[in-house]
């Protein structure tokens, strides 16, 4: 397999996975869905203080990773 096709395959993998996030969010917002929305499960994880701190740290790390380095 050539380097280019492997690169395309890798990018396709990311595209599929990110599309899956949008699909899940769409499915979660349908009435009667058993799938929680992204906000719901993040909110659930942020119920305990440690969860809240870790999620917010993760958010800050993303900003540092993409915008400061």
């Amino acid at each position: 397999m050539s380097i280019m096709s492997t690169r395309v395959l890798t990018i396709a993998g990311f595209v599929v996975l990110i599309a899956a996030f949008f699909l899940l969010e769409y499915l979660a917002r349908r009435p009667g869905s058993r799938i929680p929305t992204l906000g719901q499960w993040l909110g659930y994880l942020m119920r305990p203080r440690i969860g809240r701190v870790l999620i917010l740290l993760g958010w800050w790390w993303l900003g540092w990773h993409y915008f400061a380095r």
């Binding site: 380097i3 280019m4 492997t6 690169r7 890798t10 990018i11 993998g13 990311f14 996975l17 990110i18 899956a20 996030f21 899940l24 979660a28 869905s33 058993r34 799938i35 929680p36 992204l38 906000g39 719901q40 499960w41 993040l42 909110g43 659930y44 942020m46 119920r47 809240r52 999620i55 917010l56 958010w59 800050w60 993303l62 900003g63 540092w64 990773h65 993409y66 915008f67 400061a68 380095r69």
Partner: protein
């Protein structure tokens, strides 16, 4: 009780008292407009900072410190989280998140070579132009605010 005649607001289950985020319709619009302009200006200035500099670090530190201070000292009304999650439904999210981490980790393990780029390698060129970088920073700040409200 002595407090029966006090018209209380806030402190209901799932809500936290704090500064009034939404003071009224007109005030709400004005406040949102002012905050929007300030944030857009901030994102524009932050987008102009060169990566790997103290300036860019400070531009990322400030929103973190401000949101942490708000979350700790002046928590806004929070959107009540669900009491429990449907595990079957949640499982789909777990699969998607785990797969994304695995895909990213495999690229990282391979040292992000051109034939197996990491997500960072793919996103960095996209947010290279000033406008897109500023938009990404604005989005990042808004996500942070959404998380503080959760």
């Amino acid at each position: 009780m002595a407090t029966d005649d006090v018209t209380g607001r806030g402190d209901r289950l799932g809500r936290r008292s704090g500064f009034p985020l939404w003071p009224g319709r007109r005030g709400k619009r004005l406040r949102a407009a002012v905050i929007g302009v300030v944030l857009a200006g901030y994102a524009w200035a932050a987008g102009a900072a060169a990566p790997l500099t103290t300036t860019s670090l400070v531009f990322v530190l400030i929103p973190g410190v401000v949101l942490a201070a708000i979350a700790y000292a002046w928590p806004p009304e929070r959107i009540p989280p669900p009491d429990r999650l449907d595990m079957t439904g949640m499982f789909w999210w777990v699969i998607a998140v785990a797969a994304l981490f695995e895909w990213e980790a495999s690229a990282y393990k391979d040292n992000s070579l051109p034939w197996h780029p990491s997500l960072t390698d793919l996103i960095n060129p996209m947010i290279g132009p000033h406008v897109l970088r500023s938009a990404a920073i604005l989005l990042w700040i808004m996500v942070g605010w959404a998380l503080v409200r959760r």
